[in-house]
Symmetry: D2
Subunit: 417 residues, 4 copies
Amino acid sequence: MNNAFLVRTLGSAKFNAPARNNFVEDEGVLVRATVPANQQYDDSSPLMEKAGPRRKLFFNPRRTHAAIVSCGGLCPGINDVIRGITMVLWHRYGVRQILGLRYGYEGLAPSFNHEPFELTPSCIEDIHKDGGTILGTSRGPQDVGQMVNYLEQNGINILFTIGGDGTQRGAMAITDEIEKRGLEIAVVGIPKTIDNDIMYTQRSFGFETAVAMSEVPITCAHREATGVRDGVGLVKLMGRESGFVAAHATIASGDVNLLLVPEVPFQIENVLSLLENRLPTKHHAMIVVAEGAGQDLAPGDGTDASGNKKLGDIGLFLKQAILEHFKTPNTRAQVRYIDPSYSIRSAPANASDSCFCFQLAEKAVHAAMAGRTRMVTGLWNGSFVHVPIEKAVEQRNRINPLGSLWHSVLDNTGQNF
Amino acid sequence: MNNAFLVRTLGSAKFNAPARNNFVEDEGVLVRATVPANQQYDDSSPLMEKAGPRRKLFFNPRRTHAAIVSCGGLCPGINDVIRGITMVLWHRYGVRQILGLRYGYEGLAPSFNHEPFELTPSCIEDIHKDGGTILGTSRGPQDVGQMVNYLEQNGINILFTIGGDGTQRGAMAITDEIEKRGLEIAVVGIPKTIDNDIMYTQRSFGFETAVAMSEVPITCAHREATGVRDGVGLVKLMGRESGFVAAHATIASGDVNLLLVPEVPFQIENVLSLLENRLPTKHHAMIVVAEGAGQDLAPGDGTDASGNKKLGDIGLFLKQAILEHFKTPNTRAQVRYIDPSYSIRSAPANASDSCFCFQLAEKAVHAAMAGRTRMVTGLWNGSFVHVPIEKAVEQRNRINPLGSLWHSVLDNTGQNF
Amino acid sequence: MNNAFLVRTLGSAKFNAPARNNFVEDEGVLVRATVPANQQYDDSSPLMEKAGPRRKLFFNPRRTHAAIVSCGGLCPGINDVIRGITMVLWHRYGVRQILGLRYGYEGLAPSFNHEPFELTPSCIEDIHKDGGTILGTSRGPQDVGQMVNYLEQNGINILFTIGGDGTQRGAMAITDEIEKRGLEIAVVGIPKTIDNDIMYTQRSFGFETAVAMSEVPITCAHREATGVRDGVGLVKLMGRESGFVAAHATIASGDVNLLLVPEVPFQIENVLSLLENRLPTKHHAMIVVAEGAGQDLAPGDGTDASGNKKLGDIGLFLKQAILEHFKTPNTRAQVRYIDPSYSIRSAPANASDSCFCFQLAEKAVHAAMAGRTRMVTGLWNGSFVHVPIEKAVEQRNRINPLGSLWHSVLDNTGQNF
Amino acid sequence: MNNAFLVRTLGSAKFNAPARNNFVEDEGVLVRATVPANQQYDDSSPLMEKAGPRRKLFFNPRRTHAAIVSCGGLCPGINDVIRGITMVLWHRYGVRQILGLRYGYEGLAPSFNHEPFELTPSCIEDIHKDGGTILGTSRGPQDVGQMVNYLEQNGINILFTIGGDGTQRGAMAITDEIEKRGLEIAVVGIPKTIDNDIMYTQRSFGFETAVAMSEVPITCAHREATGVRDGVGLVKLMGRESGFVAAHATIASGDVNLLLVPEVPFQIENVLSLLENRLPTKHHAMIVVAEGAGQDLAPGDGTDASGNKKLGDIGLFLKQAILEHFKTPNTRAQVRYIDPSYSIRSAPANASDSCFCFQLAEKAVHAAMAGRTRMVTGLWNGSFVHVPIEKAVEQRNRINPLGSLWHSVLDNTGQNF
């Protein structure tokens, strides 16, 4: 097996796992499942390690002490993941010491001195029915040495990190420090990115809920646009570098006439020209824009606490450009701009995401108990897999403007750019 | 390329497709993406044909006459598929003659004489926001010769069939008759099975909506069960031979203590014993059962109009068995049995399914315009593909009791059988 | 003031209420606000006592010990009422001893020995976001003497009873026993009837949620009916003696062609004749029936644990009568019968009901603290009022077949009987 | 009967209404149903005319030509009202000429030359299931003489005006001009105000939906606030001069710690001081503000097309004031500000509003057919009534800071100002 996707293990697993009807052992999942025309499949293609319960555990469940941390912005399903980890640790493995660290990596930093929660099945029983995170969250890193001190001083054997690529890079740094100190602490992540832009997972948790929630403002803006003469509905959705949420929401909606995403550059003239063609006969139009689109037109300034570049408000830019262009009495457009902001990311996970979150959490527990570390759980070519953190964060998953999804957008909206 | 999944084509494609930024040509998708431990990937593994727009068309769009039929029970997303086919035919290819046949295969049978709809973008603009099917549906086959007569007499070039495996078997018979008569009519299906039990598509449309809608009765039954002493919530979900809806809904819910599916046989004693252990301390329990589970215990009788075996009411059987067992004053259980029946299958597609339906419909149009026939569209290992009907219906997709999904059920419910 | 609606008071109120910007004192609300043509308003018309905070309290808040009980079937909003009572007692009055009795009147009966909850703001903070009742419930009465013993032995000063007319009759019996023993215990009820059939409150809590939830099965059945040839959708809604839920849901839906309620007798021939007229041209029809309608046609047998007469299944009767009547190939009807049963009553309260529940709970607390007893809170002619239990249960509120609501049903469905 | 609420009639009604089981004749509804302590009810109190079908009609239904116009901002239920008017005119009275005028009063102005819709039951069958208005809307008045010309030239007998107080003042001007010209045209309004601020109707359509929809951003902001250290959720809701939506949404939510409405002036210091007390122990807080609150602190500038004063953004003002005040590392607050803007007013009516809209529409049709004019329909003390326009617009309905609703807010939030 090609080793590019090899997942690190703390050492030999010697404890017996609780009995069950089957275990997963050394099965591989092909990284690439498509074959270009007239070629044979290249059998040196890398394989990912399939996730699932292992027959042998690295940690003795009765003595295992786990901790969970959630970092970065809210995303539907964080509570599902926290609950899933806790439930599987407790009921399947009998782990009885599970700490919920407060407010992201702050919970591992001595200066904040946040008191952690003791997580038990009864206290987390219904948390998945609500959005947000019961642990709280924060943005940005903390001192790696201090965080490993915390793990060491509190006797924590496994740290589960729920967070985006900044968080997982932080988790890598923590594993490096753990290794340097020769500690036996597993760090297993559940990648959180509402934009679905993480590599090697075909879907990130919260994404489908985000798509579903995005229908609401699109439908509202469309009603507003059709409710007045020459109304232009305009909705800004999440998508800093990848327009997946906006693309799926657009296709699902069927009301959208133009989608703008970061992956496909555009000129403002194209937008105005589309409206010039459409408004005189249809008297309304509907535009969706991913927040990271057109940053050459509406550049932002500075970075936020997570170190992300602050984006310019492309929605506001478009609104003003449209109003400015259609301002004579005969061409006057009325723009209805909705920026649903927090309303999407704080939603509770829908059923599909709840199910997916549980599976990601469960697989993370199985991996950690077996001594896997420096990895995140993912779904790839139909199987749950272990992904080394460095592969997950090596680049971003983005829409291919020549691929199937963008074809569907073009077929759906009728736009030609 | 191994030919097992070769899709039939009507003949050489000679018309130019409308210009776009890319086309799909002869790309393959591996049928199997997992590799057993310590083995090399077998490069003779079959490939599926990747779906998408082709550069050359078999049909001249300006003269193409298409028809759409929906058969069998309702399923979320049928209207999305009808709309998607119509929109892509009309806007992308310029097809102007699109018939909506009424009430399933009855619409092709002369004795019923149902007047078809002319489908245009304006009349189907918003149909995807509602459940059901605007075309109406019926169960069961009609005479194949008469149906092909209808296609011939009405000059129909493409027939899109939205339906389950009975419908697609019917579509195969229609293609055989078409071929026998030497006609150039494409038949392309979009497989409809709310149970997600069709082969070679990792997900069938309507499935995720069905899972989401199934949460409602589970939550209700759970509230009823916890609202009284020794309450037992019991919900029967769809799943004649495959328990996918019930399994996903169970994992998503987190409230379920026992799931029963057709793939995993059980004894009634196991169910009663689980309740005996649980009720004295927890005072409530929650059971989900797929309709096809336990048919050895509650056998049905006869077949329905679609030729499906009528199922016994396993929900009622369980209710009565539980009431009978826990009938003394000290052990009295109160069973709250919900059979959501029509409420799930008549729901409108959620955003995820709406997006998926559009993509399946779009791919079906691309395939048909390029002359593909005797196939259905599917999603496999992350790519949309063409699946020959005979492969799609050769067996049913079922839960593997030793696989990842059932592991997740066991980890979620805590059940041990 | 006419005394018919005089509310009993335990004695003179001598403690000062917490300061606020206003109090309600001795204001009256007219029982009847309409005046027949050409008549003067009769100034001897009875008045109800307006609800709200009183300047003087009967109970010393620092020493008050309250208890809450919920009885009978589930209804949206019970948790809102429990939460509202607890919040207002705790935050507004400073009461620190609030017991949540388990499983209805069983919680006051020594033989069951149910351990009550201590209710505090933190433990009930979010309960209104879920349906059901955190206290649990049961049907039927318990021994009055034993229940008053329980109140006396536990030093309870106020008992809040959430329940229907059986529960409130029980509460009357408790107040009689309290009075006989010369105790100073207030009993204040919040009337629970999803059917909206209690007198002297223009709306009962949970009713609007029930109407909203009833839309779901009506919409489903309508989609099923329009999805097949000659489909007949049939939905049975709650309404033992009063068809308010069914009437409001019918008017809101706009899809219903015939509504049957207990207040308006009908012949089965009328139903069949309506279908005979409609099906040949429209090919579908939609019927809603309140469970208590047509009991002369489908009589029930016996009584349930609450002492309510068991109803015959009028939905099933209609289904069979329609199938029997339209059974020839030319007239065959397909009936889609939905009995949403538990799905409606276990729903969480919608915003309108949550707001209303809080207000009813708050008014109940104000009343009880001021020493009112043997009463329930209600809403009448736009004001919250105190209603003596004997007035609330003296008869049932029913639809007037000559009045405004039934006019709206006739105008909405087009039915003529 | 005191004549203050006398509704104008075009003349003697001489046509027989379609047969039905009852008619409403000259019944009165007391304007005031409460009696101050120790007083008798004053029998000279004014009465409103009860709404409902009349035995005699002014217009001959077979020759009646009606028109409907919707004006001002969107509000849940406009389509319900349009549908209700059309259905009752068509099915109950047999009126066959019903015009839907486009884009508000523009539809009556010659310069715009908007083509009206012909409304029939089949084209409006499902419009109530969607938000917005199928007719379109616009703000601001048009020339009264030209609008009456339009009515005259098109032979319109009845104009139904769906709109707020500006629209109804316009309708009054139209009736004045009609009367001056001696025409027999009825003008009947259905008052539209999402703020519930119109006099003499205890509830305006769309209000309950607006309250329900307001829960969404409150819940989101609350999750965001609790998800970070010292998070402050802040939601701005509608309510230019009256805080009813915000007050009901606050009570329903249970998550709000401070509500600010136009009726209750406040100092910014009160807000900051409340946060200073709360954040150090609770670490989060939730504020709701009605858009018209605190306009002395954040004054707006100019007027909009409807002639309404433009409001300052009190939400933004509060956000900045809070951030400014809590800016040291030890006190840093994180404000999550949501302005749901269009998302609420474009929602479809919920069941309660759909039912109410139908009843208002139905009553408007009955009134117009009987020759009533210069009136709007309303609900008062439990009965549907006719309200002369001049009474409906004479002042605004506002929250009484000493009354029952504000008591409930104080009891619910715990705020003391």
